[in-house]
Amino acid sequence: MNSHEAVERLIYKSALALDEKNFDGYLELCDGAFTYTICTYSPEIRKDMIWLQHDKEGMKTLFKNLPRHNSDHSPLTRHVTVYTVDQKDDGTEAEVVSGLQVYKTALDGGATSLYAVGKIYDTVKLSGDSVSLVKRNIRLDTRELGIGHHVPF
């Protein structure tokens, strides 16, 4: 398998893992130095905003805490399309840009609606046959998220 294909598989697996709330599986795809950010730009206050930011340990704790909270349990479906994969010259890392659409399906009745759109900017570590997420930056276009959500995108 070439590295481009391996990178794509990694990105898609990460979406599948979160869709299935397989948080351990998600964290297995992440490097020890992993950082996760959800950000967006507000034209109201004309500023970039960070809405969620954690390192790997922070993500682990977040996933552990979530069952203790009251949450909307409507499942999310992440549709990701890898647009570009740019490998560094030395072949150790790749910058990946993907499109993201998040759909929400109501538990009662199962109606699905588009919940959020944005882009994912990933830095992927390549070493031999293995690939891992070093940095994930989700940049949302959607800012009106209704009652919000506890599970990261």
Binding site: P43, I45, I50, W51, Q53, K64, L145, I147
Partner: protein, 401 residues
């Protein structure tokens, strides 16, 4: 034993100030009356001065009374508010939520207005109107506007209203020192929820629902000082809740807060509700400001702002943002829980569900789980509406509490 229909509809065995009829949350008729008798009479926060820092900066604002407004800073540094309606053929003048415009020019036929509301250009004016219409006759409608209480920009669409100072009175006293330093908005988001705006303000007016929040149970409810926090009511329906020391390190992944806030004790938390739908929520390192904008009886847009200090270093700001995001923001633990609850109320109590009473009857010497904050709100609501919240179908004069 469960109750039959008659028992379900029977008035609660409490004083009539201690419950409300749920139709105040569901009736479109009451909602339109609230717009007229409440929202179009009182002072409302439109934005913060840091959102219009320079001359000609503007913000648009959807006023809860229904009007669309422009907030703009003039070259004299004064901030003014106008209807965002072109006096020609009623187009929206400013489309973007923010921007900078020396003259505000309507895209439709290019009439132009300055930041004082004067019409400065009618394209091909004399050719079309000869001397029948003058620029003076078609200026913008100005709305009362004032800045204060932490640099917020307030508007009042009632030309005859009392001053902002009189309207707020002593209500923000607990925050006096805290809102002296210059602040800056770092977070803004809007949540649209199918529920009544008062249900959101009610949630901000009672802490009994800390049972909803795992975070607050762990860091607050089981900690010393929690039950000492007290409510105080002020004139015109405002209410405050005093501070305690929140034990942030009791929540896994959270930590003792470092940056704090001038005038607030370590881990402190002061919350002030302003009638009819604004809340100052200063929690340790962040001021959260909620503005509820009803869009119908069962629909509300809530504007959420997070503020830090203008003087913040990048490290301090980053810490405030982290603290903010842990519990607030669209992915925060507490905000989602609060919104989930009022969303549930919106489903349970919408018209036709045979909902009837909402009980606000807890009395605990005005301490944290007392429901006096909501009762205080509904006393003012009843006075302004001329309807008792417990029996809103009857109309008449109601005295202030």
């Amino acid at each position: 034993m469960s109750r039959n229909s008659a028992q379900w509809h029977a008035k609660p065995n409490l004083p009539e100030t201690h419950y409300v009829d749920s139709s105040i949350y569901t009736s479109e008729e009451f909602f339109r009356e609230e717009q007229e008798k409440i929202f179009n009479k009182v002072w409302i926060i439109a934005c913060h001065e840091s959102e219009v820092p320079n001359a000609y900066d503007y913000r648009t604002f959807q006023h809860p009374g229904g009007e669309n407004l422009i907030i703009v800073r003039g070259d004299d540094q004064k901030v003014r508010a106008f209807y965002n309606i072109c006096p020609h053929r009623g187009n929206t003048i400013l489309y973007d939520p923010s921007g900078n415009a020396k003259n505000m020019t309507c895209i439709f036929h290019s009439w132009s207005f300055d930041t004082k509301g004067n019409c400065v250009d009618i394209t091909r004016g004399t050719e079309g109107y000869q001397n029948r219409i003058d620029k003076q006759d078609v200026c913008l409608r100005e709305v009362k506007c004032d800045t204060g209480y932490g640099g917020f920009i307030w508007v009042n669409v009632d030309d005859e209203s009392m001053s902002l100072k009189e309207y707020i009175g002593d209500a923000l006293g607990l925050l006096d020192e805290c809102i002296q330093p210059e602040m800056e908005v770092f977070h803004y988001h809007k949540a649209i929820v199918n529920t009544n705006y008062k249900l959101w303000h009610d949630t901000n007016s009672e802490f009994y629902h800390d049972f909803l929040h795992y975070f607050n149970r762990i860091t607050g409810m089981i900690q010393p000082g929690y039950y000492d926090r007290k409510y105080e009511g002020y004139k015109y329906g405002h209410a405050s809740v005093g501070s305690m020391e929140v034990q942030y390190d009791k929540y896994a992944g959270s930590q003792k807060r470092g940056v704090g806030w001038p005038g607030l004790g370590p881990g402190g938390w002061i919350l002030i509700d302003l009638f009819p739908g604004m809340t100052y929520n200063l929690r340790t390192s962040v001021l959260r400001l909620d503005t509820a904008i009803p869009l119908g009886a069962n629909k509300v847009a809530i504007e959420f702002r997070g503020l830090g200090l203008k003087s913040d270093t990048p490290e301090q700001r980053a810490e405030r943002i982290r603290d903010h995001n842990t519990i607030w923001g669209p992915f925060g633990r507490n905000l989602h829980e609060d919104l989930l609850a009022v969303h549930g109320q919106g489903i349970a109590m919408r018209e036709g569900t045979d909902s009837k009473w909402v009980i606000q009857g807890r009395e605990e010497s005005s301490t944290i789980h007392d429901e006096v904050g909501m009762r205080h709100f509904y006393a003012e609501w009843s006075r302004r509406m001329g309807r008792k919240a417990s029996a809103p179908q009857e109309q008449g004069k109601i005295e202030a509490a």
